[in-house]
């Protein structure tokens, strides 16, 4: 990018800025500051600054006049205008004198590096899809630690489908048996090549290569290609995908992914409006995923399993009673107590479970992203667990019904020799069911807040209160005549109170035993974190030890294998090591650089203050 100016004394100068590789190619002969400038550039790059070189040259007036015409013709030509402009620029940008280097701090948002490394720790694969140039994209990849210096970079930059196919096949063969496994390799591919790579015959190879890499950067992609890539992952790999973006060009991919996250802010609100979740900064993705995402998952699983459990438990009792009532369909409970089961008496525990339960503390989840892994593998909600809960429910219903039947077998329930009836039995069973079901919800909660206490004990108390009131309705209100006198007799029956201690305890004994044995024999990592936190010890050491085991022997070996075989590639890489960022002028951007320069009147002094 250069500008030609006429100085006050009539000389014509060309001033140019650009990437160091580009400028150095066009320098004239030997310059005194070439080497020291390179040193400076390297230093700037190490500090993570975006660098540029600035150079100048003087142009002879007659050469300029000739060139002016050439340039004019090139800029007005109808065909191949870009190529002709480039050629014209080439002619004049020569024999430059190096002026120096500039470095600009163009920081990434706060916390981006930590977020990306956390994602990697949680074994979430991260891909960057950007419209920037390749150098910029690669530089950003290094700066946000998606790529490390020890990784091998595969750069795919082909111009037609045959060479793309050939390149991809070659890479697939190079991977060999390490295909689709964890390798310290990064992939960089640009939009043009992606067109070919996403075509039908190359698609699978591209996927294989991409899945074998630790990080993938696609540069120069159009919004449509972003969508295509997300769809590829979603439907071919069957992985859960999350797309995060902040501009209108990200809307397609945000909507195509399973979870779309929009960053609302500088670029406008289109991404935020099109997304499932919108956050203000990229680093909030940490909390969104690791705290709220994981919590949501655990809460939902508990909620679903618990809802099935409590309903099966109650309604299976009807079946057991049917065995004793000739399968005539007689309901053991009164109609409205049954109807209000899900609405009033056991409505609060699912709310408490689904809204307030905290599987692991927020601090621990943020510090140890590896804990997120358990919510990625269907560890808490799969077919086996579902059927185990149903089985548990059947077991509970058997105990709840048959124990009461055995206790009331000879009907005489009172000190005055009087007997009960079917509804008397039914109300006793119903009370025990509510107590068991609510306390079971308590066992499933990992964090008992005041909401949980209210939900559990409040539900039980509410049933007792409702029962008392409901039995006195008839005949003032024409409702539930069969419940008259039930509360007095149920609460006045010794068997009821004795059963209230025995039967819920017996029913939940197995659950408690299972949990304790599970914790002793198959302690999971988050349970250990929980216990260490309660003892006010730092779980960091334990987590590191546990996760270190994950890198198996094979993985460690193959890491060495890979670095050895592709050392040559690495050497080539180091030569072309970019020193800092390539400050890419957004070509064909909305605002032309030339317009931007002319917007300011440089003869007027800059105002002070800011």
């Amino acid at each position: 990018m250069s500008v030609i100016v006429r100085m006050p004394d009539g000389t014509i100068k060309l001033m140019i800025k650009g990437a160091d590789t580009v400028i150095y190619d066009r320098l004239e002969g030997d310059q005194p500051f070439k080497d020291i400038t390179i040193q400076h550039l390297t230093d700037f790059a190490n500090l993570g600054l975006r660098t540029l070189c600035v150079a100048v040259t003087t142009i002879a007036p007659d050469f300029y006049d000739d060139w002016k015409e050439l340039y004019f013709r090139a800029s007005t030509s109808i065909q191949n205008r870009e190529k002709k402009l480039e050629e014209a620029a080439e002619l004049i940008e020569r024999n430059l004198q190096l002026l120096g280097a500039t470095a600009i701090e163009d920081r990434l948002q706060d916390g981006v590096i930590e977020t990306i490394s956390n994602l990697a720790k949680a074994e979430i694969k991260t891909w960057i899809l950007t419209g920037d140039k390749q150098e910029t994209a690669v530089n950003i990849g290094y700066s946000c630690k998606l790529f490390t210096q020890s990784m091998v970079l595969l750069i795919i930059n082909e111009t037609d489908i045959d060479s793309t196919r050939e390149c991809l096949t070659r890479h697939v063969n190079e991977f060999g048996e390490h295909l689709r496994k964890e390798n310290e390799v990064g992939l960089v591919i640009d939009g043009q090549t992606l067109n070919f790579a996403l075509s039908y015959d190359c698609c699978q190879d591209f996927l294989d290569v991409a899945m074998s890499c630790k990080g993938v950067i696609c540069c120069r992609v159009s919004p449509l290609q972003k969508t295509e890539i997300v769809n590829l992952i979603r439907y071919r790999v069957h992985a859960i995908s999350l797309a995060i973006g902040d501009g209108a060009n990200d809307v397609g991919m945000i909507q195509a992914a399973h979870v779309g996250v929009g960053i609302s802010g500088v670029e406008g609100l289109q991404a935020a409006c099109a997304s499932d979740y919108s956050i203000a900064q990229f680093q909030y993705l940490n909390k969104l995923l690791f705290v709220h995402g994981a919590w949501s998952y655990h809460r939902l699983t508990k909620l679903i399993l618990y809802s099935f459990y409590k309903n099966i438990c109650l309604h299976l009792i009807e079946f057991w009673f049917a065995i004793l009532s000739g399968f005539s369909g007689q309901v053991l409970f009164e109609r409205w107590t049954l109807g209000f089961y899900n609405v009033l008496f056991t409505a609060a525990p699912p709310f408490a479970l689904g809204l307030f339960d905290r599987w692991c503390s927020a601090e621990a989840m943020l510090r140890f992203p590896v804990l997120y892994k358990s919510s990625q593998n269907s560890e808490f909600f799969n077919i086996r667990i579902f059927w185990l809960w149903c089985l548990n429910s059947v077991f509970h219903s058997i105990l709840l019904f048959w124990l009461v039947v055995l206790a009331l077998e000879q009907d005489v329930a009172f000190e005055d020799g009087k007997i009960g009836d079917y509804l008397f039995l039914g109300n006793m069973v119903y009370t025990y069911v509510i107590v068991v079901v609510c306390i079971k919800a308590g066992f499933e909660m990992n964090a008992w807040t005041w909401v949980c206490h209210v939900a559990i004990w409040g539900s039980i108390v509410f049933w007792f209160v409702f029962f008392t009131v409901y039995c006195h309705l008839w005949p003032t209100i024409d409702q539930a005549p069969e419940m008259v006198g039930m509360d007095v007799n149920v609460f006045g029956c010794g068997i009821f109170w004795i059963g209230l201690f025995l039967i819920p305890l017996t029913t939940l004994l197995r659950d408690v035993m299972w949990k304790v044995l599970h914790r002793i024999m198959f302690k999971s990592i988050h349970e250990e974190v929980q216990e260490l936190e309660m003892k006010h010890e730092d779980p960091a050491k334990m987590v590191i030890k546990a996760t270190r085991k994950r890198l198996t022997e094979t993985a460690r070996l193959l890491k060495n294998v890979f670095t050895r075989s592709t050392n040559r590639m690495q050497e080539v890489q180091s030569e072309m090591q970019p020193r800092g960022y390539a400050f890419s002028q957004e070509e064909h951007g909305v605002v032309l650089q030339s317009e931007l320069i002319r917007a300011y009147d440089t003869t007027v002094e800059k105002p002070e203050g800011l």
Binding site: L324, S328, G485, V516, L517, M542
Partner: protein, 358 residues
């Protein structure tokens, strides 16, 4: 600009503990160390309780006398059941006697029950076949009962529908055997009040208003299988007749299980048999009117004392004993597991120090 600031202020979510999911919580961690003391405590509490309940239940005395197939006194070759099965004798009564012995004194209060087997009072259509408003005396005719227990249309050619009082299958199948107990030919005095739930007496069952019972029940019929109309159920006691008859109340309270017993009479221990029903040979005299043999139902009479827990049922005592012992066993199992496995885990984590190589 100011309004923007205000707006952006108000859109910020409140930073309360409730809304930001920071509520303080107690974390119930079920480790072996936490649960152990509870297991032992429960075990140690339950076992004596179980023993106590078992003793209480064993102190209850009970005797059951089956009289389903007792022989008719008029014709000893027939059982009363066969007598009733004969279609000529439907609605008739048969007298029979059964002797039984009380092995020990039955301490007051002593209760007499009748027990039926294979009798599904908990059948759905049976349970709903009643009219509570009629039984409350609010109306004479009914609409809640189903045919054929509801009414007779065009009764005796009068052109009017006569409702059964009380209507419904439950009332229709009212138990109408009469049981009397004799000790050496002197009758044991039995009380037929105080056997139904007090709430039934006060709220659910009321005779239709009016002094003359027969007139109040005008235009109604006695149910098909009854021998006498509802207002003649207990002529000796005006408070125990009509709908307010306690035997009727007890019967209408439909039992939960197919084998059930219902309170029939209380033994009057005020005079004669003070304090207890003495041991000895007794005779049960039955006015056998209730046919059960055609559905293989059995009829028994039960004499039983009670405890504060109810009748004779060792189940609760046994259950407490079993659960208590189970808890103690589990406690020991946890103790052993905790000492073996739990120790090794904690030593492992304590071995990691700052010098452990990564």
């Amino acid at each position: 600009m100011a309004s923007d600031d205000e707006q952006s202020e108000s859109r910020r979510p409140q930073d309360t503990k409730f809304k930001q999911q920071r509520l303080p919580a107690w974390q119930p961690v079920l480790t072996a160390t936490n649960v152990l003391p509870f297991m032992f405590a429960i075990g140690l509490a339950f076992i004596p309780l179980g023993v106590a309940f078992l003793i209480t239940s064993n102190q209850v005395q009970e005797i059951m006398v089956d009289y389903t197939h007792c022989k008719s006194q008029d014709d000893p070759s027939l059982t009363c059941a066969e007598y009733l099965a004969n279609s000529n004798n439907t609605g008739g009564s048969c007298f029979c006697e059964v002797t039984f012995t009380l092995p020990t004194n039955f301490t007051a209060p002593v209760f007499i029950y009748y027990s039926l087997t294979n009798y599904y009072q908990n059948h759905r259509r049976y349970v709903k076949s009643r009219d509570n408003d009629q039984l409350r005396g609010k109306k004479i005719s009914s609409s809640d009962c189903q045919d054929p227990f509801l009414k007779v249309e065009n009764y005796s050619g009068t052109g009017r529908d006569y409702t059964y009082a009380p209507c419904g299958a439950i009332a229709n199948s009212f138990f109408n055997d009469t049981l009397k107990i004799y000790l050496n030919d002197s009758e044991v005095k039995l009380l037929n009040t105080g056997i139904a739930w007090s709430t039934d007496r006060s709220t659910k069952y009321k005779n239709p208003p009016g002094d003359d019972f027969a007139k109040a029940f005008n235009n109604t019929l006695k149910p098909r299988n009854w021998q006498k109309p509802v207002y003649d159920l207990d002529p000796s006691n005006v408070h125990n007749t009509g709908y307010e008859n306690e035997d009727l109340m007890v019967w209408m309270r439909t039992a939960a299980l197919p084998t059930f017993r219902k309170l029939y009479r209380r033994v009057d221990t005020s005079n004669g048999f003070q304090g207890s029903l003495p041991a000895g040979n007794y005779t049960l005299r039955v006015t056998y009117q209730y046919p059960t043999v055609q559905f293989n139902g059995g009829k028994r009479m039960v004499i039983s004392t009670v405890s504060w827990l109810g009748g004779k049922n060792p189940f609760l005592g046994i259950a407490y004993l079993v659960v208590g012992s189970l808890c103690i066993v589990i406690g020991f199992v946890f103790l052993i597991i905790h000492l073996k496995i739990g120790k090794s885990a904690s030593t492992l984590s304590s071995e990691i120090s700052s010098r452990t190589p990564y």
